[in-house]
Symmetry: C2
Amino acid sequence: MDNSDAIASFAALSQPTRLDVFRLLVKAGAQGMLSGEIGERLDVRQNTMSANLAVLLNAGLVRNERQGRKIRYFADFDAMRGLLGFLMEDCCGGRPDLCQPVIDEIACAC
Amino acid sequence: MDNSDAIASFAALSQPTRLDVFRLLVKAGAQGMLSGEIGERLDVRQNTMSANLAVLLNAGLVRNERQGRKIRYFADFDAMRGLLGFLMEDCCGGRPDLCQPVIDEIACAC
DNA sequence: TCCATATATCATGATTAATTGATATATTTA
DNA sequence: TAAATATATCAATTAATCATGATATATGGA
């Protein structure tokens, strides 16, 4: 994870449809979702969805896997890890009380 | 933290100077940094830096505090918390092994 | 009050991104 | 192999963003 990877990731997440897609894939977890399923759920046209998925893919935030003529997309949790780590690098100026709540927040119930 | 707050935050972080600024302020922690200090450190012109700080401020990612004629900026850790929580909401589809490494990554050493 | 310092705002030109209609590619089924 | 389905690519228009020069505002000190 270098600076330009992080820029690409944040740019990818800074668009409403793509943010929705990514959060949907985070929720879906290891099961992922089909491209068509995603487009239907979010009511986004086919080519727009394809373009937006390509941006997420290019940023490394999602992976995909062909299944016949469908394509299944997954949130890439390793990429998430890298991105958040990059953002929080050397955080807090030595004051854990600032940093800890941030960590707690993503300590999801799963 | 709603969808449009998150969009604003990611858009703010998707620009090289602003990402540098934010990471610098994360490192600085509670001490923060003066606007001028930041501009000098990152070698960015005065009005460009001011505009970029305004974007971060508007996104809620940083706070500021006037000190005489200088203005001190701070990373807003509550906003970070909200943003990461929003992104990871209902994560992993019930598989903690996917989520845990993400949490571990930002468990900084401070 | 006048000047210097620190920061913010405004207008503009240049670059970049987003959506869309049309079309192409890949895969499965008949 | 032809048709149908699922997804990707292309070209073009519109819209958003960025850095910059110029200028304005706010604070502190002489």
